[in-house]
Assembly symmetry: D5
């Protein structure tokens, strides 16, 4: 079985969220909701804050669409808080960060770099059944794009909500979709 | 080892390319070049032609950047040719298609759907050393976006060409990059 | 245990049949009926259409004898439909084609060519108990003969219907049969 | 690997041939020649003599085409001689019979019925490289047809002698053949 | 455990007996009776008929003593019948022959010659409990002696019928036997 | 491989022979000679002395034919000597006795009764190549017959000396033998 | 666990005792009694009779103390009787001898000499619970001493009967014993 | 292999000997000499000092016969020295004590009581080839006897020095010995 | 799992305590109490008495805090008593010593030096739940410090008694402690 | 083998040291030097800074004694730098911190808390041969004491420099040491 279509594995991690006390998160806490796991290599580094800031700007909209978003690195929740307290970019972010110093999440999603103990620059979108629907990884030094992620998230929600419809390449919210049928075989 | 940073595994497949006789392709044929493996589920189906057409429009530019692009499904090269001969959208595409009816490539890249014998809707960008730098998979029904792929490809080429520089989130060709240094730790 | 006399293994495949919507076929759908599994290497190729056309001409008669006939290759049902829509010879055929892109049937019957992912040019006749009674395989480039297959099918049905009778070499419907007995031992 | 295209396994058996002393046969004796292995269940039984007689009438022609033919059962060479000496039909046959009481050949070709220690009613055509090109098995009680076997043998020899040509369904010696090419894909 | 004193293993074989239809024999058919298994290498050979004829002459007497006698070779029951029909010596024999073409009996009693697929020239006497009491094997070319076998069979029956008595060397029916006792230790 | 035709396994045992000092015997001491291993259960018991006396009377003749004879039980050579010194029947015997208290010989020949630590009443004839040619075992209480053993020994020597000749059932020295040939198949 | 303090393993052996019929002995027959197992290499040998005679002279006394004594070698009970009937020294002995030709006892007590199949010159004293309390072995050629064995047996019985008392070195019946206590630690 | 006749295993232990500094002893230090290993449970206990004192009185004589004697317990060499310094009986002993707190020697000789970590009350006599010739173990509370040990030691030395002679039961230095021969078998 | 935080394993050892009879101690005897296991290499040696004396002076205070203290070496309880009776420093100590000659405790706590059979110079503090809270080991020749141990013991008791409080470096009884909270993250 | 006396395992980690660029440290960098590995749970937490500050005050002295000191947690070197830049206590520390986010060091020294991915509060002193000489661990909430650690370090250096001398309990630099000798056994 590939990654897409598989169910997320159990985990338990301590979260830091601005303005709240530390709290634990497990797979049960996101059952019935959409979720984004947004992995990055390490607190206090370089590309990460721009990506996290970019993602942070979508958080309100994603929440309104029924999503939770988690920033994840192999740092502790103590470190996450310290970064939040000292960085302008990170200090503005409202979504929670998970401390994955046990490497559980990075291993569960297959994105632990074994030679450094850090996570890949990887994004996973999980549906309300805990099934991974969208994923993306870029190499070190290449930043992701929250706009494109949002485009795909909207398509995935549309497809789930409208059985029998599919979204063509580069589909944007409001554009036409396709309805597959026997007659269309070989006709597109 | 995760996928990003790993070297592609050996393969051999027969290619169909418009206007040429069938020919074999192996991992040796792309040594020293950049390559995109663009997987899709099946010939003669629905979302795929829109994505392939979208990708086809970038082919000339990607070639000029030193890239080869392969469409890959678990259909045969005979089927690829028949689709090309009968579909308007596919008939316009100039990049080669690989026949993966033995499932070698889909297994090598971990994107075979075992319950249907079809490949995921997955993209892999491979650098001239045969190392995977960027990947993306979307669920059935959600089309990819060739513009965003091109953006990331340019960032990956930039980073390779400019050691010591990294591209922030949503970077576009020509924008500013970052140069990591000890002094920047915790300052972004 | 050899092939002849063994029971077919479970399978599930999607069928294309002219004028009908795609539908699934399993071993349970042929329980109680005779069936012919007519494997060929690939859609859109060369010897195959002549053999399939030859077989197609017997379909009405075989149906009247209680048979179902399946064309089988490792192509998808989408490809089968596309071939039907574009080939004169295939377009005339009324029996269903099974999409075996997962290689289940080709492996079940031991006719997958592992170095190409295609099936042998093989025929299997299965009785109403799911037991294989007749089989034949020819190498690439040698076409089968639907007349001879029909002759053997009739003999197999005759033997099943008339316990105690056997059909001698090159027996044709209506010719004499033999009734084995102790007295005949060493006398023929 | 399926049966067709595989190389025969080593064997050693004692042969009876009318008018000669017993002699041993191994796979080396047929290297460089075409051969037919014509299995049948047992000496002194019922369908077998009609099939062997039918085959015997083709022996001269097959010899002229460069073939050797072997009748094979799990009886001894002593039994083969005794059958030859007492049966009119068998007494006329000029090709050799192999004693397979050790079950080596029946196991090599996968046609031993384990619950009775007898061979299937199976035919194998082997080319001068020792590779199996054509095979056929029928259930107990259904006789084979030497005319059809001869037709397929001629086709196999034709294809070997004329690379680039293939024989369509029900091809007879002298009929048209096909020359596969890219242009024919999807055109037959 | 040695052979003597061991219980015979299960078997099933088809028997030919002059004047009767073929029938199956298993170990259960001889429960409660004495039995002789008289193995020989092959039908239609040389020493065997003289031994079988020699044994055949004792059959009536052994039957009256409660014995069944089986001739056993790795030939089929068809071959046994054909031999019976064509050989003067074998044609006179009234005891049944078992077809052991599956090698079950020859393996059960440890007398299969693996390099030829034939049985040794071996005799086993089995008591009504299925326990082997007497055995003998001679090399190829040395015939057995039915008189001596009969002598030992009578001694074995005598000992079973008369607990506390033993038969000295070369004992013949009616001669003196010995009654072991503590007083005889070291006195014979 | 069965017993007949197998080569004896290595052994070392201490022998007692009337009028000589104890000495060791191994398989090398009988290389190039015929030998009889005459097993019996125990010194100082009942059937054994009659069998040993019967065998002892043939010793001179067997020696003249190139044979050595060994009495073998699981008693020690000390016990053998004590029995010889105190028993009239045993005191007359001139062939050596082997002490097999380690059970090596009884295990080598497969005749150890594991529930009592005693040997079967078993005879083995070994040819000058160390190959077992004739064997016989009788149950407890049934004495063997030295005359019959001698008959078979002569036949075995005759067959070895006259390749191409075989001895029919109950053959006695000087009687006719048979010369197998193709023409005799099925004629005896 | 060492030997001393371990429980004897199950055994079954046939005993010879002067003036009685052969009978079986098992570990259950000595439950609740003291027992001496007096192993020696072989009947009819040299040191053994002097040791057995020496031990025989203590038998009456040991019986009165609640002991049974067993002479044990790997000879049979038949051999033991024959030795008793022919040797002056052995003829006087009244305790039973066990036939250990299966090597069960010698293996149970760890005293089988594997290169000769004979037992060591070993003595074991077993208490009424089946636990070994005293043991001794000497090499070949060195005789044991029944007086010393008796001395130790008496000490063992004394200690069992008088909990809290121990017997010092070279203690003789009637001498002083010691009562261990905390105050004596380091004071003797 | 039993204990008697086996070679001692390698060991290394620190020795305390009155009037000397601590030193290490290994199996190499006793090569070519006779040795006694005199195990006892623990320093500062009860029976042990009487046995050690008893043994100590023989030390001078045993030294003159070419022996070394070792007291062995699972205490350390520090403890041995402390016992020597504080106990009258132990303070007189001149032979060395080995510290076996690693349990090597007790395990090598099979006398470790696993439930207490202490050694049995066991004696082993080792010849100049390192082979164990005599052993003895008594249960807790039963003291050994240095006189009897000395008697057996002398017999063992006599037998080694006089091949062909054996010492009968309870032999004392200067008494008659036996010379085994064939003529004596069964005569003693 | 590391050592700290793990539960002690079951053990049973015999204790010597001044003025009491020997008695057994198991893990159950310290359930509900604090305990110190104070390992040292051997009785009658050099650094050990100074450390034990140092520790002995804290015993009364530790008892008043709810502690039991055990001195542990691989010597026996007999040896512990003898040392107590002869050493001034040890003679003053009131806490019990455990005899660990079976090495159970040294192995349980991972402090057995395998090349000498002695324990490390190691201290373990166990809380009333049997969980190890503090440990320390020094190399041979470096003595521990009972004052520092007492300081840490007091801190451990304080922390257990005051959930939410922690003791900073070099904390002494009565000094300030810290109360961790989210606000303090990164502020100390 | 216990921890004390074992050699440290290979490792590689990135170090942060105030005023220097990041650099890698391996076991080879401390070969020939003394080293202290000072583990603590996490950056930005509570007890840790007091312990690290306490240790930091000894750094200059320890450097002059030939030591290197490493702070180690499972945080990254990025995090270590960020902590250093924002904490007053940590900002004063001059020794390097190792980033152990791969858990290599924590596992090597056996101090990883598997349920939290953090290290124990553990100290290890390693000599110039890479051998661990002193270790200490305290539970969560109990701070260590740099004075006591320094005392033990000095003792370990003294013992290494002065073979034959040992330091008694609570030894301070300049106090008396002991010279072990046979005469002192049991005298301290």
């Amino acid at each position: 079985m590939g990654i897409i279509g598989s169910t997320i594995k159990p985990f338990k991690a301590t979260a830091f969220k601005a303005g709240e006390d530390f709290y634990d998160v497990t797979q049960e806490d996101i059952a019935g909701k959409w979720a984004v796991f947004f992995f990055y290599p390490a607190d206090f580094t370089f590309v990460c804050p721009t990506e996290l800031e970019d993602m942070g700007e979508k958080y309100e909209m994603l929440q309104s669409m029924g999503f939770e978003v988690f920033g994840v690195s192999t740092d502790t929740h103590f470190s996450h808080k310290a970064w939040h307290d000292t960085s302008d970019k990170i200090g503005k972010i409202k979504f929670p960060f998970l401390g994955d110093q046990m490497h559980t999440l990075a291993n569960n999603f297959g994105v632990l770099r074994e030679d450094s103990g850090l996570a890949d620059r990887a994004t996973f979108v999980v549906d309300p059944d805990g099934v991974i629907q969208i994923m993306e990884i870029t190499c070190e030094g290449v930043g992701r794009n929250a706009n494109e992620l949002t485009r795909k998230i909207k398509a995935a929600q549309y497809v789930r909500a409208n059985p029998g419809q599919v979204c063509p390449a580069a589909w944007e919210e409001g554009s036409d979709t396709l309805a597959p049928s026997l007659d269309l075989v070989g006709k597109i």
